[in-house]
């Protein structure tokens, strides 16, 4: 399973970076979103994939025994997803406003502020 996910993550990163390097504004946003998702999956995989072992202490034991699904990476991802949601919503609106203002979605037309 880890191997499959590793390839999926690598594919997402490659696709995200490829999208970022295109000149279209919309693809820029899609690229950023893909990067965010790839990162979330990476953290998920790094937390070790454990199936069917919730991190619950059974009534007759004092501590957890054996391997269990680590809840921390999932909490991290949840936080990152929420943050990513807000940030991407903002980015999409920003891109829309910029498109309306500049009248083009080609990043080469966005050079008036470059030094």
């Amino acid at each position: 399973m880890e191997t499959v996910l590793a390839f999926v993550i690598g594919g997402l990163y490659a696709a995200g970076l490829y999208m970022l390097m295109r000149r279209s504004l919309v693809k820029l946003v899609i690229g950023l979103a893909l990067l965010g998702q790839a990162t979330n999956l990476l953290i998920f995989t790094l937390g070790r994939l454990t199936r069917g072992r919730p991190p619950l202490i059974s009534p007759d034991a004092a501590t957890l025994v054996g391997p269990y699904a680590d809840p921390v990476p999932q909490a991290l991802i949840l936080t990152a997803i929420v943050i990513g949601f807000g940030v991407h919503a903002f980015t999409i609106i920003l891109v829309k406003r910029a498109y309306q203002m500049v009248g083009s979605d080609d990043l080469d037309d966005f050079r008036t502020t470059d030094g």
Partner: protein, 479 residues
């Protein structure tokens, strides 16, 4: 308790200013009061840390290393005080220069949420929490940068947002991998466990992920191109705020990560940091020399100064780190002051273009002095603050035998002086150019913060002895 106070104050001020957004006078008063309270809280925190040592707060009473810990050592406390200072000066300055529309659409709440994010980043001892504070700070800065929706702002905003989001993604990857190999998020805890990890290659890769992620945020060579493309687009108070704080948070994170987590990657990281530092200094100042627009020139200067901050980190002796901390205080004050000067110049003459400016020396003697103090301080002339900051760094460089970086630092100082003299010659000294709408006076709310910052720049130089001792002590705590 005093640890969380700066965050709470900014948070509450942000909410209060949002609630009073239809009552402009109350909102403005609250904004300034909140910033003043933040400065007071920062000073209290510094005093407490100075007297009683490192302050810690386990949020929600979850014991470390399971819960999130806020902690303040001297370095954090100094940074919070500087945040309060920049916040207060920008809040006062914005009263006279932010237009009513931007105020109505949330300038003041965003200012305080940004300050909250910055303070949070300075005070947290948890790596993932640092990411969250970074995002709080970033989302506020995104909106501040594009608030107003002018074409230049949107264009600059897209570059700023894209590069910062990429940096955040890389940072998060670094956090994830560190958690994967150590099973910890508390920074001190990670540092302990990293020492036992037997995968030097992986740890080094993570170190470089952090270097790139924070390097983008701190605008180091060769990752700085978003900064001069975006920083000059928003109104001056916003630019002053960003230049004073945002890149410095990136440097702060670099210092934390490379003194605490990756301190044992001894032979590989410091040369890389020193090389980056030198290239950052040189490219930044060369970019500045080529500019004729005041805010763009100053934006390139930010980059050049970041190089000095990295130099101390690359040398990594206590003296060098103390130099970085002292330089941080110096550059935050001087840089913010210079951007405020550019705002007043624009108010008086209606342009930022150095070619069209001129004659300010004859008509505005006070402004001339208030420009020269931070400008000469930035160039490193004694007895101003920049001189002592650079002296410490150069001394540390000589002690460590890193003569190349010392030569670069001194050469860049000359070029800094040259570019500051360019502003002086063009805007102040030469007979007035062909512009313009000439206004002869500015509201006091513009002068007051500038005067305060310029006075502090001088004070930082005059009281360099005790303040440098404080920096040294802060540097000792980093070890």
């Amino acid at each position: 308790m005093s640890v969380i106070l700066p965050i709470l104050i900014s948070f509450l001020t942000g909410i209060a200013t949002l609630l009073f957004r239809d009552r402009r006078p109350i909102q403005r008063a609250l904004s300034v009061l909140g910033a003043a309270a933040l400065l007071a809280a920062g000073l209290t925190l510094l005093a407490v840390v100075w007297r009683e040592g490192v302050q810690r707060l386990e949020v929600g009473n979850w014991p470390a290393p399971f819960g999130i810990v806020l902690s303040a050592d001297l370095f954090s406390a100094i940074m919070v005080v500087l945040t309060g200072l920049v916040g207060l000066t920008v809040a006062i300055y914005s009263l006279g220069s932010i237009d009513p529309d931007r105020e109505r659409f949330g300038f003041h709440p965003l200012l305080h949420i940004l300050l909250m994010g910055v303070c949070g980043a300075f005070l947290t001892a948890d790596l993932f929490n640092l990411y969250v504070w970074f995002e709080v700070m970033l989302i506020a800065s995104f909106v501040l940068m594009t608030l107003g929706g002018e074409r230049a702002q949107l264009e600059g905003g897209i570059k700023y947002v894209t590069l910062n989001l990429m940096a955040s993604a890389l940072f998060l990857v670094g956090v994830g991998i560190l958690y994967g190999i150590t099973g910890a998020l508390n920074m001190a805890d990670i540092a302990q466990r990293l020492a036992e990890v037997k995968q030097p290659g992986l740890v080094l890769a993570v170190a470089f992920l952090f270097l790139v992620a924070f390097g983008i945020k701190a605008a180091v060579f060769p990752l700085f191109f978003w900064l001069p493309a975006s920083y000059h687009t928003p109104p001056v108070p916003v630019t002053a705020l960003f230049s004073g704080l945002l890149t410095k948070v990136g440097v702060y994170a670099l210092v934390r990560v490379f003194t605490l987590l990756f301190a044992q990657e001894g032979e590989f990281i410091p040369p890389v940091l020193l090389t980056i530092a030198g290239l950052t200094m040189v490219t930044g100042v060369l970019g500045a020399v080529a500019q004729t627009e005041m805010r763009r020139l100053l934006s390139f200067h930010i980059i050049s100064q970041i190089g000095y901050l990295l130099m101390g980190l690359g040398l990594r002796t206590p003296l060098a780190l103390a130099g970085t901390i002292f330089f941080m205080a110096h550059v935050i004050l001087a840089k913010t002051a210079l951007f405020l000067v550019s705002g007043i110049v624009h108010r008086l003459r209606g342009t930022y273009d150095l070619k069209k400016l001129g004659g300010l020396y004859r008509t505005q003697p006070v402004l001339t002095v208030l420009f020269l103090l931070p400008a000469l301080s930035l160039a490193g002339l004694p007895p101003l603050s920049g001189f002592f900051a650079k002296l410490a760094l150069v001394q540390a460089g000589l002690e460590a035998g890193q003569f190349a970086i010392v030569a670069v630092a001194l050469g860049v100082s000359m070029l800094t002086l040259f570019s500051m003299m360019k502003i002086w010659n063009e805007a102040f000294w030469k007979p007035s150019g062909e512009s313009m709408t000439t206004v002869s006076s500015c509201p006091t709310t513009l002068w007051l913060p500038l005067g305060l910052l310029a006075a502090l720049t001088v004070a930082l130089g005059l009281a360099a002895g005790p303040l440098f001792a404080l920096s040294l002590q802060a540097a000792e705590q980093l070890k």
